[in-house]
Point group: C2
Chain length 86, copies 2
């Protein structure tokens, strides 16, 4: 059994409006950061997973994302897996 | 003037309790994903910035993080800057 650190980025699909991002963008502009053109907000999920192989982890984490961690209708997700050295 | 894509990861400091992460962990376990040992939730902020150089962008974005995008008392942030090709 190995330990893996899994990083999942969940982002709104590009066609989906992001009101939270728009609010952050406006706040940045109000603070004088006029160089910022766009802002979008997503989620970052970090898991520690104990399993046999990277392939197995990838398969199971994809499933978790579809079932619980993301909303596939409006969000995309990206999974990054790193094996931890003991 | 160049265009940069900036990715900011805002995470709770390791010593700070993460109730949202604990809830996600419990939900994963209830769904049968017993291999998951820990879960922590952070924010992912993506900005498009128009500025002169990577150094300048880095400096300004660090400032934005401290002022608005993160809570330095309980959160750490990590900035990643990529220049866009025209």
């Amino acid at each position: 059994m190995k330990e893996f650190r899994v990083k999942i980025e969940v982002k709104l699909k590009p066609v989906v409006l992001d009101p939270q991002g728009k609010t952050v963008l406006q706040a940045l502009k109000n603070l004088g950061y006029d160089e910022v053109g766009d802002a979008r907000i997503g989620k970052l999920i970090e898991l520690t997973v104990n399993d046999g192989s990277t392939e197995k982890v990838k398969e199971r984490v994809d499933e978790m994302c579809k079932k619980l961690l993301s909303n596939p209708v409006i969000e995309n997700f990206e999974v990054n897996i790193e094996e931890q050295n003991a």
